[in-house]
Each structure stands twice: as structure tokens, then as C-alpha cells.
């Protein structure tokens, strides 16, 4: 059994720790770092509740070892909100009522985020395919698709408030 010291950037912040080789990434996030927004559902990489981004790509964190994340950049659901402002995906899930129990929501939003990075203007079919590795057992997917469409549209709009100060933003 080996113990490894890992350094991982999560939501822009550097975390370090010693992990057993067998520690799964999702367990390290939840149990050691207390980043409990990432959920554990099926435990077998079927349901997608544990989806996070690793170096920009969606990954099921129940099927990756924590030690594999060493030196990588992670984004979890906790990293979506910026300066107290909800991410357009979070806003979309709220506005379109895209959840009932909410268990699948973090993974669903992270899979959707990865989809929108790759394809900013997806069709309904592309959205459905993009989240096909994420299971929701409450609502069906109608409102989830609407929420992602909401976010896609919002993300495509110019967002002057996100232009860095001093860049002379605001003008078209």
C-alpha cells in the first residue's frame, strides 16, 4: 500500500494532502476536503452524480483515484458560483425548476458545463446526448434540458459585468 502526497488545484485554490493510492477522488473531495457538493450515487460510473471537471473535461470522480489528480486542475460544483453570483447554469436550474430532490443536480450541471464549453449552442438532441451519462430519477429531463438551454443562451450573451476592470469594456 502506498501513500502519496498530492497537490491539486480545485476551484482555483491549491489543496495538498496525503492519500492512500486506493482513495477514490470523490471520497477525497467529500471526506477529506469537505467539498460535499459532489455527490456519490451509483458508485459504478453509471449515474454521473459525481461528475466534476478535470483539466476542463467532465469525469466521473468515483472512477478516478485521488492520486491521479495530482498536479491537475479540478472544478467542482462549488466553483460555479463567482463572487456570490450564481453561474448561468445554476440560475437556469433554478428558473426552469430543473430539479426535485437535487441529488443529480451537481453532476448534471458539471456535465452540462463541459458540453457548453465544447458546444456553446447545442441543439436539444445534443444536450440530451451530452447529459446521457447523468441520471435523474425525479423530474425527467425536460426541465433539465430547458435549464441548459437557458444557460447556453445566457452564456452566449455579452456579459459586460464580467469584463475585467480597466479593460475599457462595456462598449460594443
Amino acid at each position: 500500500m502506498s501513500i502519496h502526497h498530492i497537490r491539486v488545484t480545485i476551484n482555483g485554490k491549491l489543496y495538498e494532502g496525503d492519500v492512500e493510492a486506493r482513495t477514490l477522488l470523490v471520497h477525497w473531495l467529500r471526506d477529506s476536503l469537505r467539498l460535499t457538493g459532489t455527490h456519490i450515487g451509483c458508485d459504478t460510473s453509471s449515474c454521473g452524480a459525481c461528475t466534476i471537471l478535470v483539466d476542463g473535461k467532465a469525469v466521473k470522480s468515483c472512477t478516478m483515484l485521488a492520486v491521479q489528480a495530482d498536479g491537475r486542475e479540478l472544478l467542482t460544483v462549488e466553483g460555479l458560483e463567482q463572487n456570490g453570483k450564481l453561474h448561468p447554469l445554476q440560475e437556469g436550474f433554478h428558473v426552469e425548476h430543473a430539479l426535485q430532490c437535487g441529488y443529480c443536480t451537481p453532476g448534471m450541471m458539471m456535465a452540462a458545463l463541459a458540453l457548453l464549453k465544447r458546444n456553446p449552442d447545442p441543439s436539444e438532441q445534443e444536450i440530451r446526448e451530452g447529459i446521457s451519462g447523468n441520471l435523474c430519477r425525479c423530474t425527467g429531463y425536460v426541465n433539465i434540458v430547458k435549464a441548459i438551454q437557458y444557460a447556453a443562451q445566457k452564456l452566449r450573451e455579452p456579459q459586460p459585468e464580467q469584463v475585467p476592470a480597466g479593460s475599457g469594456g462595456g462598449g460594443e
Binding site: 486506493r22 467532465a58 472512477t63 478516478m64 451519462g133
Partner: protein, 292 residues
């Protein structure tokens, strides 16, 4: 479930990976995408003493044509196969296959080499590689050797002819001849599931429309990936008309060895092999003659 204890080593080069495999022998397992291995560890169905992580070997992620051959690095992720213009344009059967493996999130991490080396009869690439007549490059302490795909799988599930100190490093596929085409069709209950049955078909026609090469591979209808040799034999030299396609499809179904399980009774799976073979051959014919 949490895996049992093991040591973990990151390989920073192919040579280092092989040295580690050579050192640890059968006690070691290669960790690529991990989407088969990590669940096995979690269920304690596998308990290797050492994992050799090859995920940092970026020089094993490539797709390129050279000398009439498509070379695919073993660590190429399914998502990259699926998205590749080269693959979609020249090897649509491979794009067919990649896009039905597991689900999009899994495909971000899962690798073509892992899909083959795991030798799960339910995995999708083996049938396609059998149909295409692929060759696999195994790299070991003394260099490389080429393994024809039909000699890669053994008679047992989850077993290959790779030696414990060899790493699957490349997949080689003959570049498409003129008038060649293939297709992979998978029947699944839902996204992310293994196939109820899957069929890969690949044909090459001569100028007169006669079949000069036929390959048929079957997914998840037996203890190993199945090459439907008798069905291929029926097709060779034929004009690939609907009658011979129907006959080959019946033969492929006869060569399947399905068992009844939660995905359906054996008779049903056999019937699905027939239907899927018929459809895959028709699509292969259409692609070979310039259609989609």
C-alpha cells in the same frame, strides 16, 4: 465499495511502464482510463499489488495515417476518436463504435487500448477490430511485436495473449481501399449499458462489385469477442446482394454463442445478431459504394 490496498506507480515513459511491468509481473495491472479496472477493484474482483498508471504518456495519444495504415495510440480517448474528422471521414465504422461506448462522460477518459486489452466480450472495439483485421503492437522489454487481432483474444473471457511485461501501445488498421465500407451497430437497453448484441461488418469490393474481403465481429454474444468466420466465407466472392447478406446474417447468428441473462434470452439475442448483421452489411455496402 473501496478498493483493497495496492501500490501505485506513475509511468513517465513507455520504457518506464514496461520496466515496472517487468519488475512486478502478473502482480501489476496497467491503469489507463480505468473505467473497467477501477470498478473491478472496488468490487474486489481484482486485487493487483501494483497499478502502473500510464495516463501521463501523452505520446500514446494519436491517430495518424502513414504507409497505408491508420496508427492509433493505445491511450487515445474514445472522445477523440469520436470527434476526429479523419476517423469520421475515412473510418466511419470506428466512429460508429466510439460513439456508442458507455456514455459521453466516460468516453472523455476511457481509452481504445483499455477497451481492447480488458478483453471483455461486452466491449465494443474488439468486434470492430476483428471485422477490420487490425493488428496490435505489444511493446515489451525486448522491443515490439505485432499481434493480429484474431490472435489477441484467447478462449477465455478477460484474457489476452499479451505477456505480463508487455504494454499494448498501438492499434494498426489497414487504410480503406477503394470501394470499402464498414459499420458497427449496437443494440442496447439504454445509454451506457453493454450491448444486448453488437455487430461490426466491413467489406471491400472489387471493380465488378465482388467481395474481396469480408469481416464480421460480434459483441457480447459469447465468452469472447467472436469473429464470424463462416459468415465471412459466405460473403467472399459474392456480389453482396440482399440474398447473400440474409444468408450471411443467418450464419453469423449461428456462430453467436449467447446465453440468457438480464439483457434477454439467448434466442432473442441470436435473432438480434441476425438482424444487426443484415443491417450492418447493408450499411457497409452503402458506404463502400459511396453512400453514407
Amino acid at each position: 465499495m473501496i478498493p483493497g490496498p495496492f501500490d501505485y506507480q506513475v509511468a513517465s515513459s513507455v520504457a518506464e511502464a514496461i520496466a515496472l511491468l517487468d519488475q512486478h509481473g502478473a502482480d501489476a495491472k496497467v491503469l489507463a482510463g480505468g473505467h473497467s479496472l477501477i470498478p473491478l477493484l472496488r468490487f474486489r474482483l481484482a486485487s493487483p499489488a501494483v497499478l502502473v498508471d500510464i495516463n501521463r504518456l501523452r505520446d500514446l495519444e494519436y491517430m495518424q495515417e502513414a504507409d497505408g495504415t491508420l496508427h492509433i495510440g493505445a491511450l487515445t480517448r474514445e472522445v477523440d476518436l469520436e470527434a476526429s474528422d479523419l476517423i469520421r471521414r475515412r473510418y466511419p465504422i470506428l466512429a460508429d463504435t466510439a460513439r456508442v461506448i458507455a456514455d459521453p462522460v466516460v468516453r472523455n477518459w476511457a481509452t481504445i487500448g483499455g477497451n481492447l486489452a480488458h478483453a471483455d466480450p461486452a466491449n465494443d472495439h474488439p468486434a470492430t477490430m476483428l471485422a477490420l483485421g487490425a493488428q496490435l503492437v505489444a511493446t515489451g522489454p525486448t522491443g515490439q511485436r505485432l499481434i493480429p487481432i484474431e490472435q489477441f483474444f484467447t478462449d477465455s473471457s478477460f484474457e489476452t495473449t499479451l505477456q505480463p511485461n508487455e504494454l499494448l501501445t498501438e492499434i494498426r488498421i489497414p487504410a480503406p481501399a477503394e470501394r470499402s465500407g464498414g459499420a458497427y451497430l449496437k443494440l442496447e437497453r439504454k445509454v451506457g449499458d453493454y450491448a444486448i448484441a453488437g455487430v461490426a461488418a466491413y467489406v471491400v469490393l472489387d471493380g465488378a462489385g465482388h467481395v474481396t474481403y469480408a469481416g464480421i465481429g460480434l459483441t457480447n454474444v459469447g465468452p469472447t469477442p467472436i469473429k464470424a468466420r463462416a459468415a465471412e466465407q459466405l460473403l467472399r466472392g459474392s456480389t453482396l446482394d440482399d440474398a447473400v447478406i440474409a444468408q450471411a446474417a443467418r450464419q453469423a447468428a449461428a456462430e453467436a454463442q449467447p446465453v440468457s441473462d438480464l439483457r434477454g434470452p439467448a434466442d432473442y439475442k441470436r435473432a438480434m445478431v441476425e438482424t444487426l448483421t443484415m443491417r450492418a452489411l447493408r450499411q457497409a455496402r452503402s458506404r463502400a459504394t459511396g453512400g453514407a
